[in-house]
């Protein structure tokens, strides 16, 4: 499925990772990122329980989680059209609670509270709760989409002709589309993608979507980052973020902190795409998800070390604001 986007009067192909979930009548289609790059397959989600499972199993992540959250409300509105406004409001509150408990680091409650707020306001003003919430979500998503397209244009402006840019994990289509924009403007930019253990999103998603746009991308192991920086092969670093704090600290995929420390050490500008928030004061207060050690110790159903060996798998780490050269925000509130 190829959509086209127009971030600056130049038409570029939209990466499937840019908008990885969409509602089709009473079914939510979610791109199964764990099957990429071999298969582009969408999971059919029909209720909140299934949506929570898709998030917990990391079938989607980052911006995909955000889309799943909002579309799950639309899904429940479509499934419960006959409920009274009061009952529909309760359904929205229950949906929010279920989504809030799916994973700890991403700020689910910040997103769901916006929707609950719309529903509450509609109920208080005796408006049609379903219709009002639906309209608000559509408008909100349209605004987010426009802001992300605008951010793609800003990212492309950071890159100079001849730059070599390091990225980590995957920034949900925005980097690949910025790379397309650079190509359309005759700017040659090379990318290094870290493989990003344990789920290998860098190898499976970032390398794949950058290659699909015709970009020059080189995959490295996570432990090769300092080597390429010390050898002067990296001009800029750009990463996404899962959660931001009032003081500018942010959480992102595990491995981001050590890349930020190295960028500082080797005097390399470090850029981060953020969704600013004041709900959490500083990075130390962000709850970090510790995932099952077996996700690290086994791969493709095969154990990589002896059974007696333990594993430790923090899903995210925190980057203090003093390591950031520039944040590139969108407003999600």
């Amino acid at each position: 499925m190829i959509h086209q986007a127009n971030p600056n009067k130049i038409v570029i192909n939209e990466s499937p990772l840019f908008w990885p979930a969409r509602l089709q009548e009473k079914t939510l289609l979610v791109l199964d990122e764990t099957l990429l790059p071999d298969k582009v397959r969408y999971i059919r989600v029909r209720n909140t329980g299934q949506a929570v499972e898709v998030i917990r199993q990391m079938k989607t992540r980052a911006f995909g989680q955000f889309l799943v959250v909002l579309n799950t409300f639309l899904l429940e509105l479509a499934r419960n059209k006959n409920l009274s406004d009061q009952a529909l409001f309760q359904k929205i509150v229950q949906t929010a609670e279920a989504l809030n408990n799916s994973r700890p680091t991403f700020p689910f409650s910040e997103v769901t509270s916006i929707v609950v707020g719309w529903a509450k306001k509609a109920l208080e003003q005796s408006q049609d709760v379903g219709l009002s919430v639906q309209r608000n979500i559509f408008g909100y998503l349209q605004g987010i989409r426009q802001q992300r397209l605008d951010r793609i244009r800003r990212i492309a402006e950071f890159f100079q002709d001849g730059d070599s840019v390091l990225t980590h994990c995957n920034v949900s289509g925005e980097l690949a589309m910025a790379a397309s924009l650079c190509r359309a403007r005759n700017k040659k930019v090379h990318f290094f993608a870290t493989e990003t253990r344990p789920y290998l999103q860098g190898a499976k998603l970032t390398a794949w979507e950058l290659k699909n746009t015709g970009s020059d991308v080189t995959l490295i192991a996570d432990n090769a980052v300092a080597s390429i920086m010390a050898d002067g092969l990296v001009d800029k670093v750009i990463v996404g973020s899962d959660r931001s704090c009032a003081n500018g600290d942010f959480a992102n995929k595990i491995g981001t902190y050590q890349i930020a420390v190295l960028a500082k050490e080797f005097d390399i500008p470090f850029y981060v795409l953020t969704q600013p928030s004041n709900k959490v004061k500083k990075g130390e207060d962000i709850p970090i998800e510790i995932r099952d050690e077996n996700e690290l110790l086994t791969f493709s159903k095969r154990r990589i070390v002896q059974k007696a060996v333990r594993g430790f798998y923090p899903g995210f780490d925190v980057v203090p604001h003093e390591l950031i050269t520039k944040s590139v925000p969108i407003d999600v509130h």
Partner: protein, 167 residues
């Protein structure tokens, strides 16, 4: 694993000579964390065997997870495997420079210990495009696969020989 209580973690990077585990075994309060050692996961496989042989149960982390442990102030010392040494620094297994810089920033000592085997300078592209024998990246993607790197002296606290003595 709780990250709240005080921990004493020794991080080991690269395929160190297995006599290091005899040294570490004497320190009962120290937990041993080993890094995977992509692309061939050699450190994970060799070190876990050496460690278990001495009845030390190691904890494996991926190569991108060391920073988290430093951020949480859980790391007590870092051990890097080296294969060449001079007055300006050492040639270590890839990933050594990451831990050396992290150790320097967090004021954690970085020790060098001899490698168990010589590593070539570069690996093959296919080493990174595959994980544990399974293809993970698109076929037409380039890869850069350094297997060793230079760690400057300024990051190194002490260098050890296989006999454990400082030099």
């Amino acid at each position: 694993m709780s990250t709240n209580k005080k921990r004493y973690i020794a991080l080991i990077q690269g395929v160190v000579n297995d006599t290091l585990f005899d040294v570490l075994k004497k320190r009962k309060s120290t937990e041993i964390y080993i890094l995977e050692g992509r692309p061939k996961l050699k450190a994970a496989k060799v070190l876990s065997k050496s460690s278990l042989k001495r009845k030390i149960v190691p904890t494996l982390i991926a190569d991108n997870m060391a920073g988290f442990l430093f951020y949480k102030n859980l790391v007590k010392e870092v051990w890097l495997s080296y294969q060449l040494l001079d007055k300006n620094g050492a040639v270590c297994d890839i990933g050594g420079l990451i831990l050396a810089v992290l150790g320097h920033k967090h004021k954690v000592p970085v020790y060098l210990y001899p490698t168990a085997e010589k590593t070539p300078l570069m690996g093959k592209k296919s080493d990174v495009l595959n994980f544990n024998g399974v293809r993970v990246a698109p076929r037409n993607v380039n890869a850069y696969v350094p297997l060793v790197e230079w760690v400057p002296r300024k990051y190194i606290s002490k260098t050890y020989s296989v006999h454990g003595s400082k030099n």
